[in-house]
Every structure is written in structure tokens, then in C-alpha cells.
């Protein structure tokens, strides 16, 4: 007689429960397409080509005098900064009495392949800054850049210091040679000339590939298992689907802009060496002389702290602050930590200077 193998009944129970959750999921939750990611009320106050300028409606009666313009990254969309009310970067700053504008870079098409750094920095960004200055009757505004949006904002702050009162660099992509992430490894080996010549814009598929190599098993398997396990937890599911929808929607990047970004930042590392040129103008980081607040996430696996921190030491500003947070790239802007720690610190710093 062979001894009977015993299976813990809890295992059977868990498998059955998981199966039930998978079957019932469509009844319990919305499809990602049915979810709107535009949370906080705003107006589209300006449009230029495919880009838009959003102006959020105020939450407080009195507001700080200097408006804040957020230059979001070129990868994915600005919605992560306003992903849901309790984790919204925008809402938190509005509640602290700031006047917030957001730059939506839009969705470039094949005909935008020749857009370059000059168009983004001296074209779109500068036009919107001028608009905001005019609207709010101020000579300078506060500028925040996030991720690759901070690369653009940094070059802007260097070329147009007269328009920037305060600069906030959140996980900025600055020193490509020091970046230790998988993304930088792929970027360093990329034949970007051939890519732009052959397919024009950097297609979203390449970005999805880059995402897929970041913790592939945790992100590719475990998080979906957790999603179905927690299907009855409305708060968890809502947050999960919003972030997933955001992750699955990245626009192409204009070819010429992408080419210069890969070459000047990751391959030749010109920006941090003060050797990068935009339409014949040298981007000298020493010309960034306004108060600067640099935010870095210790666990950032998209832009490593070593890539962001050099900005703090390279600028010409005397009033400069560097803050490091025990979180990741997205955790720094859309999490309970960002609400409890990152944003209150930023708000205090900015209020003192606005």
C-alpha cells in the first residue's frame, strides 16, 4: 500500500477562490477603457500643434502669487500626476494654494518626426511660459520637470533663466553615463540614427519593450496575480487599473528629439558636461541660478539617483535643496508617501519662494 499524499485543503480553497475571482472580475470592475484618467477639473487654455496647456481650477480662495508650470515626461502621459484624488500630485498642490498649469505634450504623428529639442524648449515650453506670465501678470514663474520632462525643463531653465523664479527637478534625467538602469544600458547600445531614418518617431512598442525588462517577473506575473486575488477590494482595484491604463498608453517620441536625447544624454553625456547645444545655443547648467529643489527616489529603477543628483551640484544656484526619498520613480509622485512627505516638503519650500 502506498501512503496517500496529503494536500492542504487551504490550497484547494485558494485555487478555487482565485478561479472564482477571475470569472467574476468583469462583473466587479470596469474595463480600463471605461476609466477616465482626467480627474481634477481644468481648462485647456492654450494649444499649439498637438500640445496643450491645462490650467487647473483653484481649490483655495487665496493663492500664492507665482504660478507653477509642470513639464511632464515624454514617456506615458501627464495623468500619473493626477491619477486619483487621494494620490494626486496636482490636487495636493492646489490644496496648498498653488496655481497649477500642466503641459500635455500630446501624441506626435509621422509628420512630427523633425520636431527637436529647439521646438520643445524654445518653441512649446517658452510659448506656454510667456502665456502664463502674461495671464498671471508675473515676470517669472515656477517650473517643475518630471523625468524626461525635467531634462527639457532643465535646458529651459538654463537658456531662459530670466523667466524661471523657482525650479523643481523631480527624478531628472541628467547624467546618462552614471545612470545604472536597464534603460540606460539599452539606450547606450542603440543605433538611434538608423532608427529615426528608418521608422521616424520612436514607436511606443520600444517603450513597452523597455518596460518589460524592468523586474519582468514581479511586474509581468505577480502583480496580475495580486490583482485577481484582491478583486473585491474596490480601492486596490481602482488604483491598479488606473496605473495600468496609464502604463499602457505612451505616445511616440518625435524622431529628431529622441535622437538628440539618446545621443546627448545617454551616449555622449553632453548635458552634465555643459557641452550640449540647442539650435546653436550652449546649455550651460551654471546659468541655472534660481532656487532649485531636486527630488530623487532612492529605489528609482527608471532614472537612477546617480543620474539625477549631479544636477544639484552642477547648477549655479546658491539656494539649492536636494531631497532623497525611500521610494521608486512612480512612488515619488503618486503614492501615500508622496502625499505625506514629498508634497508637504515641496509645498513648504515653494510657498516660501512664491
Amino acid at each position: 500500500m502506498q501512503s496517500e499524499s496529503k494536500v492542504d485543503p487551504k490550497i484547494i480553497e485558494a485555487i478555487l477562490k482565485f478561479g472564482k475571482n477571475v470569472i467574476e472580475a468583469p462583473k466587479l470592475v470596469s474595463a480600463p477603457d471605461e476609466i477616465s484618467l482626467e480627474v481634477t477639473p481644468h481648462d485647456i487654455v492654450q494649444q499649439m500643434d498637438k500640445t496643450r496647456l491645462l490650467h487647473y481650477k483653484p481649490f483655495t480662495e487665496k493663492q500664492h502669487k507665482t504660478p507653477l508650470l509642470i513639464s511632464y515626461a515624454l514617456i506615458n502621459r501627464f495623468h500619473i500626476l493626477d491619477i486619483q484624488p487621494e494620490k494626486s500630485w496636482v490636487r495636493n498642490l492646489l490644496e496648498q494654494g498653488f496655481d497649477i498649469y500642466m503641459l500635455d505634450w500630446g501624441t506626435p504623428t509621422s509628420m512630427d518626426k523633425y520636431l527637436d529639442f529647439d521646438d520643445y524648449v524654445n518653441g512649446y515650453l517658452d510659448t506656454y511660459v510667456e502665456y502664463i506670465k502674461n495671464e498671471s501678470s508675473t515676470e517669472k514663474i515656477s517650473l517643475q520637470g518630471y523625468c524626461t520632462g525635467a531634462t527639457i525643463a532643465t535646458t529651459y531653465a538654463s537658456l531662459h533663466p530670466e523667466s524661471v523664479k523657482n525650479y523643481i527637478a523631480t527624478a531628472p534625467v541628467i547624467d546618462g553615463w552614471r545612470d545604472t538602469t536597464v534603460i540606460s544600458n539599452l539606450a547606450k547600445h542603440m543605433d538611434v540614427d538608423k532608427m529615426v531614418e528608418t521608422i521616424g518617431n520612436m514607436p511606443p512598442e520600444f517603450m513597452y519593450y523597455a518596460f518589460s525588462v524592468l523586474k519582468p517577473f514581479e511586474q509581468g506575473i505577480e502583480k496580475y496575480v495580486n490583482f485577481f486575488k484582491n478583486i473585491e477590494n474596490k480601492k486596490f482595484v481602482d488604483s491598479f487599473l488606473r496605473v495600468e491604463k496609464w502604463l499602457g498608453d505612451t505616445p511616440p517620441i518625435p524622431g529628431e528629439l529622441f535622437k538628440q536625447w539618446i545621443k546627448d544624454i545617454y551616449q555622449d553625456n553632453l548635458l552634465i558636461q555643459n557641452k550640449m547645444y540647442i539650435e546653436g545655443q550652449l546649455v550651460d547648467l551654471k546659468k541655472i541660478d534660481m532656487p532649485i529643489f531636486t527630488q530623487v527616489a532612492v529605489g528609482d529603477h527608471l532614472v537612477s539617483p546617480e543620474c539625477s543628483m549631479p544636477l544639484h551640484y552642477a547648477v549655479g544656484s546658491e539656494d539649492k535643496t536636494l531631497r532623497m526619498y525611500p521610494t521608486g520613480h512612480v512612488g515619488m509622485i503618486a503614492s501615500s508617501l508622496s502625499q505625506k512627505k514629498v508634497l508637504p516638503e515641496l509645498g513648504q519650500w515653494l510657498a516660501e519662494r512664491s
Partner: protein, 192 residues
């Protein structure tokens, strides 16, 4: 030595294919022109380009396959090594929920660590860069073949459309600068 001789053979066959493509094209161009009508006239005149592209595609396909094989080999080797590490750390068959969770955690951590190490490595970056580069070469050949077909129906090629995009971009920039200049002059005038 081995690779040099295989390169010689490849070059020989490439030359042979191109020679016969050219000769057949020359020999058949007049009868083709005489026989073809409508869009086929342009297609017949440019059909040699398609043959040439196809010959070059074969060459690039060999290189592409080499890098693709290396890509999957790197993934498979990393998988095998990671699985060995998991086996050493979690040799027992799990019997309850807690043990399953523990084994799953070990599996995910080891696999994520090993694969991240691979994706961070120079050998992966180098091979992946070359793989994408060859993929782009293949795309370029496909573009060129499509251009022949587009031209046969009098539609603009990719290069011609690109030229229009470039011109539009340059015009927009010039108009933007002129507008800025006008604005400055207007402001100066108002100040006076």
C-alpha cells in the same frame, strides 16, 4: 578562416544573383516596356530594385538570425541558471499556502535579480543593439520594396513624404521666428 570562406561564398552568390538580375533586367526591359501598360509600365521599369532588395534581405536576415539566436540563448541560459538557484534554495515540495507563498517569493526574487543582471550587462546591450539594428535594416528593405509599388501607382514614396514633412517643419520654424520678431517690434513701438 572558416568565417572568411563562408563570407567569400556569400559574396560569390550575391554577385551571381545580382549579375543575373541585371542581365535579365537588361534583356527583358524592352519586351517588358512593350508589353506592359498602365501602372505595370512603371512597375516593370523598377522591378529590378525589388530583386536587388530581396537579395540584400537574405544577407541581412542571416545576421538578424544570428543575433536573434544569441538573444534567446541569453534568455534561456539566464532562466536555467535562475531555476538552478531556486532549486537549491527551495528544494522541498511545498505543502501548505505559506510554503507556496515562500517558494513563489524566492522564485520571483531570484528570477528578477538574474534577469535584471542580464539586461544590465554589456553583452546583452551589445547584442540587443545589433539585433534591433538588423531589424531596422530589414524594415528599410521592406520600405524600399513598398516604394517601388507606390511609385508604380504614382503615389509619393516615403522619402518624398519625408521631404514634405521636413519642409513644413522648417517653414513653421521660420514663421514662428518671424511672428516673434513682429511681436518684439510691436512691443518696442508701443513702448515708444
Amino acid at each position: 578562416m572558416q568565417s572568411e570562406s563562408s563570407k567569400d561564398i556569400t559574396d560569390y552568390y550575391k554577385h551571381l544573383s545580382l549579375f543575373w538580375t541585371d542581365i535579365i533586367h537588361l534583356m527583358s526591359s524592352k519586351p517588358q516596356a512593350l508589353a506592359s501598360i498602365g501602372p505595370m509600365r512603371a512597375f516593370a521599369a523598377n522591378s529590378k530594385k525589388i530583386s536587388t532588395e530581396l537579395i540584400e534581405i537574405n544577407e541581412d536576415l542571416m545576421e538578424f538570425n544570428k543575433h536573434l539566436t544569441e538573444y534567446y540563448k541569453q534568455l534561456a541560459d539566464t532562466w536555467t541558471d535562475a531555476q538552478k538557484k531556486v532549486n537549491l534554495k527551495a528544494p522541498e515540495i511545498p505543502h501548505d499556502i505559506e510554503q507556496i507563498e515562500a517558494v513563489k517569493r524566492i522564485w520571483i526574487d531570484i528570477f528578477d535579480n538574474d534577469f535584471t543582471e542580464l539586461f544590465d550587462s554589456g553583452k546583452f546591450g551589445d547584442n540587443y543593439g545589433k539585433l534591433v539594428s538588423k531589424e531596422l535594416e530589414l524594415t528599410k528593405h521592406w520600405n524600399n520594396i513598398t516604394n517601388v509599388i507606390l511609385q508604380s501607382v504614382n503615389l509619393p514614396s516615403k522619402e518624398e513624404i519625408d521631404e514634405v514633412y521636413k519642409e513644413m517643419h522648417s517653414l513653421k520654424k521660420r514663421v514662428g521666428k518671424l511672428e516673434l520678431e513682429l511681436k518684439k517690434r510691436e512691443m518696442k513701438k508701443n513702448a515708444e
